[in-house]
Symmetry: D2
Subunit: 347 residues, 4 copies
């Protein structure tokens, strides 16, 4: 059987070769467990340095839903709630995880996956003015994602505005960076790691979708923001005995800017595909600057495409058209893109 071209998502392959090599080299080295190994230590240092954080903290977790669940559960008191775009990953595709952890998600309408500052300001002003708000779950955190679930990006200006509103109302700002590498590498992106660290109280740097086998690095912009985070993580099943598995991967990703490089390659291919699509009469559902490409395609063409390319179904557009997503990743190569374009031309 011929394998279809892998463009359905960005977590299809294993890990970046540099990580595999490091895992091999260190395989039989004995290290202390639970994140106290030297690789985890090194990863923490490299990440804090990349974020220009002098007083920050880093914890390595296994996956995105896990990171969101543990961070949000640990940060909120039991009477508190988290604000999210209605399209937020925590609100849609994590099995009711945040609520199972005890917290309400207060969903705001999204703008291409983003929360508008004005909507947040208005929501908080109304809540604060409500004389009966002690009968309601208390908003205490804002959850955003960069890039968003729609592949869009907050600008530095937009992020700053959210930051200021959060400060004004005593809210924590938390950013889900599952695909952060692809955001950092996007053309015109002006939200760097240090800037993310300045404007967010907590964020995570995605590994699973950005070159690692598994792993997300949760960054707290100041030490002691959350007490006993290790115990909460243990309690929620998030501590790996062989913590070095995560440490080695992030130490590798943050050495010599590898994390930026894996993102850049994916973005270059995605831009190439987007240009091709526009030049060849394809209609984008909306334009995106990152590794996710959303296309409106006729069902007839889609059938043919599906024979040769693995893609993600997004939603029905109309009776005869469908919205699909193609995604590049660190593992995408020139030959795959060439073949994809050929297929897109032929169908």
């Amino acid at each position: 059987m011929t394998q279809r071209l892998p463009f359905s998502c960005d977590y299809l392959q294993g890990c970046h070769p540099a990580i595999l090599q490091k895992l091999s080299e260190t395989n039989l080295e004995a290290c202390d467990g639970y994140g106290s190994d030297p690789y985890t230590l090194k990863a923490r240092e490299l990440i804090l340095k990349a974020c220009q954080l002098e007083n920050g903290e880093v914890f390595l977790l296994s996956g995105g839903t896990q990171a969101n669940l543990i961070v949000i559960s640990a940060a909120l008191q039991r009477y508190q709630a988290v604000i999210s775009a209605d399209t937020g990953h925590i609100n849609c595709h994590e099995g009711g995880s945040i609520e199972a952890g005890g917290h309400k998600i207060l969903a705001l309408p999204h703008d291409h996956g983003k929360i508008r500052g004005d909507d947040l300001e208005k929501y908080m002003a109304n809540f604060t003015a409500d004389a009966n708000n002690e009968h309601m779950a208390q908003p205490a955190m804002v959850y955003i994602s960069q890039p968003t679930e729609y592949g869009t990006l907050y600008s530095a200006e937009e992020l700053k505005k959210l930051h200021q509103i959060c400060r004004k109302y005593g809210l924590l700002l938390y950013c889900d960076g599952a695909r952060l590498a692809y955001g950092l590498a996007a053309k015109d992106n002006d939200v760097t790691l240090p800037l993310l660290a300045e404007f967010c109280d907590i964020f995570y740097i995605g590994g699973t979708k950005c070159g690692a086998l598994l792993g997300e690095a949760v960054v707290f912009s100041r030490k002691g923001l959350i007490s006993h985070f290790f115990t909460t993580t243990k309690q929620m099943g998030g501590i790996l005995a062989k913590g070095k598995l995560l440490g080695i991967q992030f130490a590798t990703l943050f050495e010599d800017d590898l994390y930026l490089k894996v993102g850049q390659s994916a973005i270059n291919y995605a831009d190439q595909i987007r240009t091709f699509l526009k030049d060849n009469g394809y209609q984008l559902f909306f334009d995106t600057p990152t590794n996710q490409i959303f296309i409106i395609i006729s069902d007839e063409k889609l059938k043919k495409l599906g024979e040769k390319v693995s893609y993600s179904y997004w939603e029905k557009y109309d009776d005869q058209h469908t919205v699909i997503r193609l995604a590049t990743s660190w593992a995408t190569n020139a030959q795959q893109v060439e073949e994809l374009l050929k297929v897109l031309k032929e169908i």
Copy 2:
């Protein structure tokens, strides 16, 4: 700096070389995510076959605390509780995980880490007879570990008795097999995988401590025992996007009986060390048939030992003696054991 001899626990190194090789070979292969890859499929088949289960189900999770939390939470209704030995891992060293998931642990006194059938029978008879038991959390599951936290083993006879009491009172029997490979390989062990599958409703086959980088294989002895286990796992942060990372490891461990072999090697070395200790005037805290060795040692000797060997502190024995634990693993080799015995002789 000279590395100390690694005998403190069984999760110090990476993974068995056969696993590393398979991870390398398949690294750039694109696979569907979330456990729908062919390696996970194969691992499931091999495990069911090894357990002689025709109608069972297997789910691959990342770690022991996670497996216990998700299995117990998924299996119990919110008014139900789980019975454990007071020394049970869930009762002592998992950060209050089960309770954070909403369930009470009903602790029975242990016998070298094991629950006595008679104690369980008596407890359930009393509960059932109590006219006010609707005011109490309802016992619905028994949690055991094989080997136990004390390195001891249930015999087939003992397991069968627990099984029968569980049937009588409508309790699920769940076995934590974090170190199962070392139990299966122990001399005189008569609890095989098929027998475990016959007597337990649910158990997990430990990977993290038995040759894998991470991973535990949860086995349900019959399909449909727990509804929507995938969603519950997702909700609790236990689904890896790159599920093949777990699939490849367990497929490798269960091909050509590798899982039995990694256990056998560790047991052989542990037996060798135990024999040496007895022959050389050391006192065992109690005798164990698996890869964990408990020694009562004078504080003076301990100080010298600690300079060359990494061990685990267990508890104070008296003013001048301490109980320590040494553990072998799949990664232990002849040279390390030789050097350990040399140190034990000299101090």
Copy 3:
């Protein structure tokens, strides 16, 4: 100080005099605790009879938020969610109770406080068709209120349609009847208690707002729908030692149709007020058939009104107008209404 006229809500006074008398008569009578007293038994019988339920069950709880929390928590598995109108009481004014109990609320847009059958059908059709829905909390119950938070009523036809959609998709239908007495008594209401019992799996008959000091009667339309409901109620702090306090109240309310009478009196006064308002140039925010009246009033008039009448603020209408709520109750009397109308005429 002169007391303002009490129209802000329907829980300002104590209990119906017939209840107070019965509490006095039985005060020193010794009864078994926790709901096993003869009055609770009698209340259960009378309620089942009024609902024409031969195989139903009744549990008496203390308050509405408590009833919603315990019923929904007890009925749902941990991977399940409840569908509600976005204006549903559980979604807005219960402190995040359902989520703190572990369950996501899936909010549908409301139509004057009601869920449209078509919206529900569409939502469930989409969910069922979604290939990735195992990554999402599983909808398992629909929460409605009768009357709604906006004082509106489902017709028998609308309720039947919701019932049929719930059957089709395996959803439980649960109705919050905090103000049910006022719904039952409303002109043109065609949803009787037996009909409610036929179309809903679970509902509660409100006591607190309908003549009792406290208490809500949860009705299960068939026995055994929920296992160990007593233990779950105990666990969530919902069992009163002196259960007869609830039993006496509901036994009184359901003897000689008192429950219908207390509602009728409130509706008559509300209708009288509504007629007056329309005849005197007041604008209703929207028309309602129950004991809640929503008025758009100029801020100038509102200031004067507030000096003599206690009302509820609802929301700002525009720069110079406000929406307020007036509520009648079983305790409203002719003199109070007369004085209210006088005030409304004068301001």
Copy 4:
């Protein structure tokens, strides 16, 4: 049918006549809801005064299990646990409530229902010394009851010692006073309300078993100890719309020292019964100074007793004897005691 003499527990009857009268007098008075009525305000003031607390806070809840659940859930962070005697009510008879709220109970062996200071000190010293204690739920509160579930009392000296150990290790001390009136009135009791307020961070004054229809007054010894307690209470279903029902009862109980008087009467009768028992050859299971009396009685006599007296089964003593509990209450009267003694004499 002749009613048996009511000595099985202290929550059989309604409320003290003074409360009933006040409820009657105020029944039709309109009051704001949710605890903002003048009676609740007055009750809070009277209680703080009785406790000599200048900076304390009082919240009125409905029942004991509810109070324990809400207080402990609100006071603990999610990684924290509560220490209790193994016989503690929260550990035995509240349906797993604390665990359902997410927190582990760390059970210490009891001494007639009490925690020994030395046991607590030793437990905390061990925990603090354990290098791996970050893998464990963190003890943060000590739960005691006064009187205990065994009817015994802590002395001021014992309470002070617990207080000091709690201070040393940063633990909150919380006292369950479900039967506090009977403790305060006991001969030789030296733990007054002000002293309880001095040594405990939080405690509750029992109403349900001490003269009220329902209600427990939670006292925080300093304001702001717990943030947003109202919202947490709302979230857990503990807010009554008609808060005045609780306010009126506690305002009555704390006017003119009624709370002390209702306890005194019960203690006098209990002492009279105990003296009689000793004088007439009955054997007490152990001696208690409060309203609960534990008797070892032959099964033959018990059968006869049960025909005329309602009692509580406690446990089997041996093949031919049983331990039972008799309880007096505020509602016990001279005639009932006289008849009881007559029965005890005759059987």
